[in-house]
Structure formats: structure tokens, C-alpha cells
Amino acid sequence: MPKCASFSALSLVMAGALCVLPIRSSLAGAADKDFMIAARALTFLEVPPKGSAEIGIIRDPADPASVKDADTAKTVIGEGLSVGDLTVRARFLTPSEVQGANGLAALLVTGGTPAVFQEVAAAGKSRKLLTITTDPACIRADLCAVLVRSEPKIQVLANSRVVQQDGIAFSQTFAMMIKEFQ
């Protein structure tokens, strides 16, 4: 169930509608395209990173699905993924390393336990990092800012409460194209 406390009536309707959306389970393995979308999202920040940027990819050794997804992400991004003028690089982080990691432009979490999402959320909030997920549970729990999906069609859903609390701002053009999660 989504966290519904203090939502407006509209938010409730929207959250309810999202609950019935056929959302792919993260355990099914994130598609390569998901990571491409996540990398491209960086270029639509209001103040986008220039030159090169690093995405922290959560790789939980205790979770085989997380390991698989993170390895896939690393494969996609490789030694550096060119997105427009930006080169995006990947850095693996275990959940315990998230809080101490510096120099990142975003965090990407493909799945995991609520505790892992909490670590990501805390880092996003304290360091004003964009938190991206392919797991609806993270954004539904108000812990991740953006959910990306590539199948059956590309969707970018945002949790505006998390976006706001993390101090993230997208270019207005891009913001108008994102579907609001809540």
C-alpha cells in the first residue's frame, strides 16, 4: 500500500491509480534501457553536471537480484557512458558505503530491502543527491525521487515530495514531461 498520510484528495487518486499500474518487478532484472534513462536524467537537472559525473549504484552483496542489476548497470555504463556533452561513470556502493560516498551526482538503486532504501533516502536528503530507482517500492515509500521504466514504453515518474525535500530541481521543460507519482 502506498503511504497515504497527509496526501491531498488528488494525491490519493493519483497514488491509487499508480497502484493499479502494471509495474515490472525489480526482481525480474532491470533492463539495460533503464540505466540509460537514469544516466540521461542527469542532463535534465536544472544545473546539470558538466564534463563527467559519477552515479553511485547500490550493489547489496546479500541480495542476488541487486548484484545482478548492478552488474548490468555497470555493463551499460561501462568505462563511461556519453550522454550529450556529459560522460557518466558508475561506482558500486554497498548499502553501508552509501552515507560515506562523496563526489556523486546521483544514486541508483534497483531493488532491495526497506533498510537499503532508507540508506539511499538519507544520503539523498543530506547531500542533495538525485535518487533514481527501478523499483516502485522505493518511490512508493517516499524514499526515492525518480522511478524510471523502459518497458513497455519509457516512463519517468517523480515523487515531488522527495524531490523537494532533497533540493533537486529539474529543467522546467523536463519537469513538465515527467509524470507525477503522487
Binding site: V156, A158, Q172, T173
Partner: protein, 673 residues
């Protein structure tokens, strides 16, 4: 969304106070990084449906985005080929071509010579000519290599685009000098002694200043049918165009732009009444734009001036028309909540035309002030509702000499009108694969400057016929109700779409019966003569495989009934083909591209003028089937050779009451560097 202003009330107050304006696909649209957004969302992005950027699948309008690849594979070589080789491939679009470089385009019927119901723009700047109220495609200062996409909005859209987006609007979006790189030279030659070429070059003068330059020219023999017609036609139609467009980033959030264009062209036009005319056009334009992302939204402004000189030599008409249009637009596009976006806009337009004919430079002009508001509400992640409304106030005036003996002085033209237009559209993405769209819209077709009263004369039967217009003409109103359904099945590469609509047109304008002003002069004025109803259906299916096969088919059914107040020779009812079918088969194998296009258009009737008596009549045009084809081979990554042919099934076919369209073959070499 996510801006620094947290209070909705503050945002709304600021928005209202600024009362800024927006013309849907104006300056803001030009500064959008279309390529980056398209890569992000996996499908073309447009601003033409609502004014805000959105993917085409989210658009609450019946619209098509024709991509650069679609254009390239169509076999079109210049912008003048776009109606017959590109637009004609799609459901709901009517094209009548009768000469090299000139064609009339209509959406959902009502196509006719000097078709006045379709607004055409380039990056939000109108290229529609206000004199007769139509688009002369050869005068559009764009080369095909610089077109990113052509956006076609089918249905009334004047709440968004203003006057004359009556049955639809076409916005040609070019590659951005700031974000895109295009360097291409093309040479073309073919039957009919055709020769032409174009060059497009983009580059950065400094890091944050981009420039796009383009030029193109062609010349060729007119279709054979004209030689046998005895009409006054352009023996060797030609076109020359040059354009410069520059965008500069000013800080992180502001982009400024300057665009200059010039064209000249000569071609055989089918003029109102289906006579032929050897017309020469010279146009130029200048545009300045500024777009900035601010805490109170994306504020965009643009000012442009279009000038067009038309020399008419046909129907015994001889003389020129000078038309100039100055437009200033200002807008604010603001996301007031994560789910709601509003856009407020104002526009000022000054439009004037002078005639070199019997009134020796008499000038008719009008000023328009318009205000519009758009509200887009993402009710649910799968459900959106968009509403737009616009009010236009037009003030007409006239100066200079008037027609001797005609009981109207210039004060007769001190006239004004206020007109309202609106659009409302609901899109429900029922599933990931299925979406349903319901829309209603009302648009305004303002009388052209000629309709209002810029006198033009013609000699027939030894008498001077004067088209005098009517200052008190009411604008034509078009209201459309539409429901559409789209299903995409990406796993099979299949897309299906269909729509059904009812359209009502009121206050149709037409030339009234001529009367003798004196022994040597016959006068014709304009009037509002009645209404028409249209019922239509269109369906399209597309199939594309990763192995390079592409198949497309579409069908359009249109049925129009006129209800006129008298015996006027309008041809709206019979001038629209009842049935149209378009087919396309494409195949890509390695460096080879093969495409074939078939068109079936059922018979129509058109209003023609008896050259001897000046009376009008309906003349039939038989239905036809046309087959076009293109084969291209990429010799290297940067060099492509192509051969295309039109009407390869028959030597000639006739699309209107003008001459038949010739079979033509064209070869091109394109080099990217």
C-alpha cells in the same frame, strides 16, 4: 514542478500579474533540445498540441509527427515536394498538386486552390501568406536536410496558434543551431530538365552561440499538360532560398535567437476559381526571440516580420500585391503543481496589404490583439485533460485610393470583430498499449486581406472584373468533435490508430454574384453564405520490424454537406474526396533502402470559372491511383545516392482541374561532412 516557489497562490498571482503571452510553438519550442528529450523518452517530442513539451503519445490532439527519416525516405527533394511526396502519405490530409512546386493542402477535407484553412509555421513563425490566406510551399525558407520533424495537428487549433489554424496546423521544426549538428550538401537532377541543390551547415561560433545556415535552389520544366492548355503558366518554375538562424545561451537559463530568411520562386498556381496564373513570389523575414526559465515559469517572447511580394500574371490579371505581417508574442508557461501546467499568452499582430492595381496602392490593414490561456491537468498518471481558450480582437482599416464609382470610401472599412476559439481534450491511457482520446475544438478562419477589401482586378470578355471583398465579413467558425483510439504493440512492431469526427463550419465565406458597376466594370463582393457539416473517419496501421521491413496503410472517409443561403458555386461538398487510401512498403537491407508509396483518391468536383463569361461552374476530376517509389544506397557513411520516381504507374494523373501531374524521375547525391 519542483521550482523554488512553493506557494501555489503566489505562482498564480505572479502569473496573472505578468499576463505574459505564449504562442504555442514559438520561441520556447525553438529552444527545446528535441533530440535530447526524444532520446530520453524514446519517441518524438512536440509542443504543437498544447504549447507545453510532451511526447506525441501524450498529446490530447489528433496529430502526426513526421520524422526526418520519413521525409528522407519519401523521395521528396525540396520543401515544395513535401505536400505531394510526404503529407499525402497520411490519413486525413488532402493534397492537390497541379504544377511543379505548387500544391494545395487541406486537413480533413475542404482542400481547394489557395487553401485557407491550414496554418503552416516554421519553428512557430507563420509562413502562411495572409494576402489570399494560404501557404505557398515553395516560399518556405527551409531545406529538407534541416528539418527535424513536421508536426501536423489535425483539427481546429486556433486557440493555440491563432487565426487560420482552422482545420489544422503544421509546424515545421528544424534542427537547433545550439544543440544539433547538420552538415549536408545535396545535388539533384532529373527528368523535365530538373536541376537543383541545397546546403545546410550548423556550427558553433563560440561555445554558447550556434548558427545554422541553409540555402537551396531548383529549376525545371513545367508539367506537359500546361503546354497544351493555352493557359498562362510558368514555363520553367524555380525557387531560391537562403536562411540564417542563430541561437545563443545567455547564462544557464536563457536563450536568445535571431533568424533571417529570404526566398524567391516562380510557379504555376491554381488560383481561386481554378484558373491558372504564372506567379512570382519574393519573401523575406526577420525574427528575434528570447526564452528564459524563471521562477515564474518559462517566459518566451518573439517578434517577427514577414514580407511577401506577389506578382500575378494570369487570368488576365496583371499586377502585384505587397503583404507584410508583424507579430509580437509573449508567454509564460508555468507548472503550478506537479500535475498542472498553465500557459498565458498575449499576441499583437499587424497585417497590411497594398495593391498595385486599379487602386494605385490602396492599402488594407488590420491589427489584432489576442489573449489566450491553456490549462493542462494530469488528473492521473494515465489520464490528462487539457483546455485552451483564446480571444482575438481585430480592427480593420483602409487607406489610399478607392475604386471610382464604387460607393464605399475608406471609412466603410473601419470595422472590428471579436472572435473566440477553444480546445478541450481528454486522453486516457487505458493500458500501457491502449489510449483513448476525446476532443472538442472551435477555431476561427479570419477573412483574408483580399476578402476584406484589397481590390484586385481581372479582364474577362472585354470587361474588368473587380474582386472588392467585404469589410463586414464575419469570420468562419469551425467546430469539431472527435474521438480517437490508439493501440501500440511494441513487441509486434504494430501501431493502430483510428478516429471518428463530426465537424460543423458556419459563416462560410464566398464570392457573391457579380454585378455591373458600369458599362465596362463588373464587381464582385464577398459574403457569409451558409454552413456545412462533415462526418469523417480515419484509420491507420503501421508495422515495423527490426529486420528492416516497414508497412503502413491508412484509410480516410469524409462526407461533407453544404447548407447554403442561396445558389452559390461553393464546392466544399463535392470538392473533398469521399475515400482515400494510402499504402507504403519499405525495406532496409544493409546500405540499401527501398520504398514504395501508393495513393488512391476518389473523384471530386471543383469550382471553375468560364474564361469567356466569367460565370462559375462545377467541373469533375476523376479519381486516381498514384504510385511513387524511391531506392537509395549509402555508398559510405557520409555519401548517399538515391533515385526516386513519381506517378510511375501512369504517365499522367490529374489531382484538380489544372493540368495533369507528370511522371518524373529524380536522382540525388547527398554528402554529409
Amino acid at each position: 514542478m519542483f521550482g523554488s516557489f512553493n506557494s501555489k497562490a503566489t505562482k498564480l498571482l505572479l502569473l496573472s500579474c505578468t499576463a505574459l503571452a505564449f504562442s504555442a510553438s514559438g520561441a520556447a519550442a525553438q529552444t527545446i533540445n528535441y533530440g535530447s528529450l526524444e532520446q530520453m523518452f524514446g519517441e518524438p517530442v512536440t509542443t504543437s498540441a498544447t504549447g507545453k513539451p510532451q511526447t506525441v503519445s501524450d498529446a490530447p490532439a489528433n496529430m502526426i509527427i513526421i520524422t526526418a527519416e520519413d521525409i528522407r525516405r519519401s523521395g521528396a527533394v525540396t520543401i515544395a515536394d513535401v505536400p505531394g511526396r510526404v503529407l499525402q502519405n497520411y490519413a486525413g490530409i488532402d493534397v492537390q498538386q497541379a504544377s511543379l512546386g505548387s500544391a494545395n493542402v487541406g486537413i480533413n477535407g475542404y482542400d481547394q486552390p489557395y487553401s485557407p484553412k491550414l496554418l503552416v509555421l516554421v519553428n512557430g513563425r507563420q509562413v502562411y501568406l495572409d494576402d489570399y490566406g494560404y501557404t505557398e510551399w515553395a516560399t518556405i525558407p527551409v531545406e529538407l536536410a534541416e528539418i527535424r520533424q513536421i508536426e501536423v495537428v489535425k483539427g481546429p487549433a486556433s486557440a493555440l496558434f491563432g487565426f487560420n489554424a482552422v482545420n489544422g496546423a503544421i509546424n515545421i521544426v528544424t534542427y537547433s543551431p545550439l544543440y544539433d549538428t547538420v552538415r549536408e550538401v545535396t545535388a539533384a537532377g532529373g527528368s523535365g530538365n530538373y536541376a537543383g541543390g541545397s546546403a545546410v551547415l550548423t556550427g558553433h561560433i563560440v561555445d554558447d552561440v550556434g548558427l545554422r545556415l541553409s540555402t537551396g535552389a531548383y529549376g525545371g520544366d513545367e508539367f506537359d499538360g500546361w503546354k497544351r492548355s493555352g493557359a498562362n503558366y510558368a514555363k520553367r518554375p524555380d525557387r531560391f532560398s537562403v536562411s540564417a538562424d542563430s541561437l545563443a545561451k545567455i547564462g544557464a537559463h536563457t536563450v536568445a535567437g535571431i533568424e533571417l530568411t529570404s526566398t524567391s520562386s516562380q510557379q504555376t498556381d491554381i488560383v481561386t476559381g481554378n484558373g491558372a496564373s504564372d506567379n512570382f513570389y519574393r519573401t523575406w523575414s526577420a525574427k528575434g526571440s528570447l526564452t528564459s526559465e524563471t521562477p515564474i515559469g518559462v517566459i518566451s517572447g518573439q517578434v517577427y516580420h514577414n514580407a511577401a511580394h506577389t506578382s500575378v500574371d494570369g487570368l488576365a490579371v496583371s499586377g502585384g500585391l505587397d503583404n507584410s505581417t508583424t507579430v509580437a508574442q509573449l508567454s509564460d508557461l508555468l507548472q503550478i503543481t506537479p500535475a498542472q501546467t498553465v500557459r498565458e499568452s498575449i499576441e499583437y499582430r499587424h497585417n497590411s496589404m497594398s495593391s498595385e492595381q486599379l487602386t494605385n496602392g490602396g492599402t488594407t490593414s488590420y491589427d489584432v490583439i489576442a489573449d489566450s490561456l491553456m490549462w493542462d491537468w494530469q488528473i492521473l498518471p494515465t489520464l490528462s485533460w487539457t483546455n485552451a481558450g483564446r480571444v482575438d480582437h481585430l480592427s480593420l482599416s483602409r487607406s489610399g485610393a478607392t475604386l471610382s464609382g464604387f460607393n464605399r470610401d475608406n471609412s466603410y472599412y473601419d470595422h472590428s470583430l471579436t472572435a473566440y476559439s477553444y480546445n478541450s481534450g481528454l486522453v486516457d491511457k487505458v493500458t500501457d498499449e491502449d489510449s483513448v482520446r476525446v476532443a472538442i475544438g472551435q477555431a476561427i478562419q479570419a477573412p483574408s486581406l483580399l476578402d476584406f477589401g484589397t481590390f484586385q482586378e481581372a479582364m474577362r470578355g472585354g470587361k474588368t472584373y473587380v474582386v472588392a471583398g467585404e469589410a463586414s465579413l464575419k469570420p468562419t467558425l469551425v467546430k469539431k468533435y472527435e474521438a480517437g483510439y490508439t493501440r501500440t504493440m511494441p513487441e509486434y512492431g504494430v501501431t493502430l490508430s483510428s478516429s471518428v469526427y463530426y465537424q460543423k463550419t458556419d459563416e462560410m465565406n464566398a464570392l457573391l454574384a457579380p454585378y455591373a458597376l458600369n458599362a465596362s466594370t463588373v464587381l464582385t463582393t464577398d459574403g457569409n453564405v451558409g454552413s456545412s457539416d462533415e462526418r469523417g473517419f480515419e484509420a491507420s496501421v503501421g508495422y515495423k520490424t527490426k529486420s528492416g521491413v516497414a508497412l503502413d496503410a491508412n484509410y480516410t472517409l469524409a462526407n461533407i454537406r453544404e447548407k447554403l443561403n442561396g445558389d452559390y458555386p461553393l464546392a466544399e461538398e463535392k470538392g473533398t474526396p469521399t475515400n482515400k487510401v494510402n499504402l507504403h512498403a519499405g525495406y532496409t537491407i544493409g546500405s540499401l533502402e527501398l520504398d514504395a508509396y501508393g495513393h488512391y483518391v476518389s473523384h471530386i468536383y471543383q469550382q471553375t470559372i468560364n474564361g469567356g463569361t466569367g460565370s462559375t461552374q462545377l467541373t469533375g476530376v476523376p479519381g486516381y491511383f498514384e504510385l511513387d517509389a524511391r531506392v537509395a544506397y549509402h555508398l559510405t557513411n557520409s555519401v548517399t545516392a538515391a533515385l526516386s520516381a513519381s506517378s510511375i504507374d501512369v504517365a499522367h494523373h490529374q489531382e484538380d482541374t489544372g493540368a495533369a501531374v507528370d511522371h518524373r524521375v529524380m536522382g540525388t547525391i547527398g554528402v554529409k561532412f
